[in-house]
Symmetry: C2
Subunit: 288 residues, 2 copies
């Protein structure tokens, strides 16, 4: 049974201090029996997308593999701890992503998942800083289970949760940087429903702390495949939330709620079409 540690994290302007703290939390997770640790979105940097279109932040991008990832790979290997971090990735000149590298318990970089859906909302000026992800919905076979990632805004898209489940994910990790907003009342509801629809565990790990006008509200949590919130952190401080996941509950739930058996994929073509809800005005060319 995997034991997941969610590192509810507060980052400062000091990247090196943030990384040091992250590496220490890995030790603490291991001491508490964890086999996997997941950090929030942008854990080791300030959440700069709160600031509008400031080109100077592009300099924070780094390659993968690269210096930050390598330090976490080294520590993952020492501790035999599956480790999922989040990095502001510079993939090529001018090409930046919101990326979660997945490191196995032997320190191997299994791969990356890039945020597919990019927000553009008050305090989330993401379409300036991030390209849309192009990794699709990979599932990583780690030492402690099949893991899929939905980064922050990705979690609002049932398509992503479904695709990850169809590809075999047992646990969907959601690294996020979520602050007080209209969405707060549905924080758990959306993920409970995603867990039920797909009969998977969903583990959400949020930042805490205040940066500019934003206050990240913590409340990291795990929902089981039946939509029960089985553990939740507080909303103020840093916290290492340690949760045992009984993966056998996935099959048990799929026997009771065989939604995957009863899907009608041949009828779902509309989901993958590019036409807008409103279509185009008559006489306009519709692009597909």
């Amino acid at each position: 049974m995997p034991t997941v540690a969610l590192a509810q994290f507060c980052a400062t302007e000091d990247k090196e201090a943030n990384i040091q703290k992250g590496l220490r939390l890995m030790e603490q997770a291991k001491e508490n029996g964890a086999s996997l640790i997941c950090f929030p979105e942008m854990a080791f940097l300030p959440f700069f997308p709160r600031i509008r279109a400031d080109r100077s932040f592009f300099a924070l991008g780094e390659p993968i593999p690269g210096p930050t990832v390598e330090r976490f790979q080294q520590r993952a290997k020492e501790l035999e701890l599956v480790t999922v971090i989040n990095v502001y990735e510079r993939a090529a000149p001018g090409e930046y992503y919101d990326t979660s590298p997945v490191i196995d318990a032997d320190g191997a970089l299994l791969g990356i998942s890039r945020m597919m859906h990019i927000a553009e909302l008050p305090n989330y000026n993401e379409k300036f800083y991030y390209w849309e992800g192009n990794t699709g919905f990979p599932v990583f076979e780690t030492r402690c289970g099949k893991v899929g990632i939905a980064i922050c805004y990705d979690r609002h898209f049932p398509e992503q949760m479904r695709a990850l489940a169809l590809k075999g994910a047992e646990v969907i990790l959601v690294p996020t940087a979520t602050s007080t907003s209209v969405l707060e009342h549905i924080w758990a509801v959306e993920m409970q429903a995603a867990a039920i629809a797909n009969q998977v565990f969903v583990a959400v790990v949020n930042r805490v702390g205040t940066e500019g006008e934003m206050t990240f509200f913590g409340k990291s949590f795990v929902t089981d495949p039946q939509g029960e919130v089985i553990a939740q952190a507080g909303e103020d401080g840093e916290e290492l939330l340690i949760v045992d996941l009984d993966l056998t509950l996935i099959e048990e739930t799929r026997q009771m709620l065989p939604f995957l058996r009863d899907r009608r994929p041949e009828a779902y073509g509309k989901i993958a079409e590019s036409e807008s809800t409103g279509g185009a005005p008559d006489g306009c060319v519709r692009s597909h």
Copy 2:
């Protein structure tokens, strides 16, 4: 602003009495200011799918248009009330569906929506009695808004809710026959999440009463596009739940939560593929 009446209904073995009650409820809905009424799944018949593979029930099937639908069309026209019923449809010899005819306020039959996803679970022996629906996910432009239907088990499939929203639905009606089960704790959660994901109203109307081992638990409800349950009926008795829907909340919510803007349909091909989660054993032909 449309006013929706959800007819939380208890059916007996006496079809004619059930229909008479339904026609009276339409009057009552109109008197209470409703512009649309929706009945539960199989409202005018006993819920016979609780009984395993009994061929005699096929005789209850009737065509659409047909005698039951015509009576409700007539009353809809008299009352100027958009009316959504549910009928055990006999479409051709040996071809049966779980079907919701949608009747406009002038009595016109706008079309039908057939249940797309068929359950096969304890007390729900549906794969014997129903063919899989072939109507896709139609949206009906009624006198009081654009209405999509998700019949009972259909509501568990995020693909259906998304397809209906993409086709312009403002209100998704869910006629259901839901009894006490493992799903009861997520009764509202799933539909709140579907409402948020698509920024639409979702109105669920359930049966009440006990039939054999099944007790239908009522609790018909409406969630607004922000996932707030704005009205809910009790769990015991029949009830006509009357709810005003402020459709302007859809656009307001879409401005705040622009998930439809930020979808990545070109990445969602997996959703419409027929391959199973586990794939096929090596060497086997995979069917698509």
